[in-house]
Symmetry: C2
Subunit: 317 residues, 2 copies
């Protein structure tokens, strides 16, 4: 994915190397499971953003690459704990870490990755960066808790959903771009602007992901469709259906999702224009992101960010 | 427990306040469960050691108390994840966090506490301290993973056990004393010596705890006896029995532990002198700790540390 640009390819290879190096643990089985998980083909958007953020200032590979790797490792840790809780068997078409290691060891493996990430940050960042990264991590946990509390609650509002994904996804995207720019010594205003850009991309990214849970192709998405709805996690399309005149049908449909493979749910989403409305919201965040990106100083980083927004978001639906 | 000394009482009250303040999360149920867990009466040995370590130098409450609180919060996070994995219903006579919140939310609550601890450290410590605390945390996870991997393995050696508790318990005790002294600007040699002292106390503490799992009084210990053995976690007494001439009887006995309430196991432990031999090892660590403590500069901190060793370890069996 990052092969088009030789600079980015080189840096992303270094990120990959740093991530693998951080997975060293005394236990071979755990190490192998984590390496396999690392190799299972995540897009590495977060570290890519850190590197791209760094191109707006004095780029230094030695310090930016470890921070980029740490942010991806935090992401990996949350995925491992998410998969335990969702009891997911597959992620990106591969067995999840807890399927391989058992839930017990998987809980500690997630903890291990989280502390490893902080070790990397401590080695290459200053205290201010560490504060922000720890704060973003706490925000992620907070939002994961909110998501769990909101399970099977048909009264969750769109606002609550947006707040939840703001923590669950957007915060880490924001901090990724922010950290690269900060570490590269960009002026404060530019650093903040890149943080806001990352947040908007993250919001759009999560909404698009949630839409693809209904409209996507299972092979491409890399996980079973309709899983969220079946597990009582009501994302934007379902929430729009629930808060439409089709509320009663929507409640019936989501209750049946698991057995009947969502046929009814698709009808309700269609009737209530829920997918369309969700796409509109995604478009708003994409538009905002494109606007901010367009106003950035001309640079290779800017061009690649705009390409990512186009490829990963715009063209997804 | 810390009421005998007015300085220590004041500082421990401040630690308590800082811990509670760190439990703030958007979710009320989670916050309440964490506050109840915090109030359920842990001994707070780790933060006490940080404070006591600080008395060997220029003690500054404003910076040492938050570090002490952070170390206890890391401990709390590991307890929450441990209890999930052990499926423990009770801790210190109270319902465990996952019994109250469900396992899903409890996993994230542990993560939340871990990141909160790093936020506190980042606010009040320097990068070097953070590195060491992150390293100790990774070591804890590593050892928890080892403990899980060694479950039901009757070939685990005493050496493996000691290594495992070195990470699971001793590392955090060591870093607690170390951090207090470091933050108070003690000379490097004294800082290191206090770290070693904490490690020895931690080793003794865990071995004593493991012995009490067999010889203790359930009400005092605050958790069901023989739980470890029933769950396949073989601690020092069981390992001594397993590596004695009573190996076969020991294997039979531990396999029966759950149904027959350990009657056979007690016989084997007795016959193989396993408890006695475990006590000898504990005594070695206690002796080493007392020796190091005795050679510390004369101070209130030294006296209280020696009292703790006496009360919490020496007099426990």
């Amino acid at each position: 994915m990052w092969n088009d640009n030789s600079f980015l390819k080189k840096e992303m290879d270094a990120v990959e190397y740093t991530i693998k190096n951080s997975l060293r643990t005394r236990n071979k089985t755990v190490k192998e499971a984590l390496v396999r998980f690392a190799e299972s083909g995540g897009k590495r958007l977060r570290p890519a953003f850190t590197i791209l953020g760094g191109t707006f200032g004095q780029y230094d590979s030695n310090t930016i690459v470890p921070i980029a790797a740490a942010l991806e490792i935090i992401h990996m840790a949350t995925l491992i704990h998410d998969d335990i809780i969702d009891d997911a068997k597959l992620r990106r078409g591969n067995e999840t870490v807890h399927s391989v290691l058992g839930k017990d060891v998987a809980v500690y493996s997630g903890d291990f990755l989280l502390t490893r990430a902080f070790m990397l940050v401590a080695d290459y960042a200053d205290i201010d960066m560490l504060k922000q990264i720890a704060k973003a991590s706490a925000y992620i946990c907070d939002s994961e808790i909110a998501q769990n509390e909101q399970k099977f609650d048909t009264n969750v509002s769109v606002k609550q959903y947006l707040k939840r994904i703001g923590g669950k996804t957007a915060a880490l995207f924001g901090i990724s771009l922010y950290m690269g720019a900060y570490k590269a010594g960009c002026p404060r205003k530019l650093v903040n602007r890149l943080g806001v850009l990352g947040n908007n991309i993250g919001m759009a990214f999560q909404i698009v992901d949630d839409i693809l849970d209904f409209t996507g192709n299972q092979a491409k998405v890399g996980k079973p469709l309709l899983r969220d709805a079946a597990q009582g996690i009501y994302t934007l399309p379902v929430l729009y259906a629930l808060h439409s005149e089709y509320r009663e049908e929507a409640i019936k449909a989501i209750n049946k999702t698991q057995e009947e493979k969502g046929a009814n749910l698709y009808e309700v989403l269609d009737a209530s224009k829920a997918i369309e409305r969700s796409k509109n919201i995604a478009e708003k965040f994409i538009g905002k992101a494109m606007k901010i990106a367009g106003e950035l100083p001309e640079s290779i980083g800017r061009d690649i960010i705009m390409e990512i927004i186009d490829e990963q978001l715009e063209r997804k639906f």
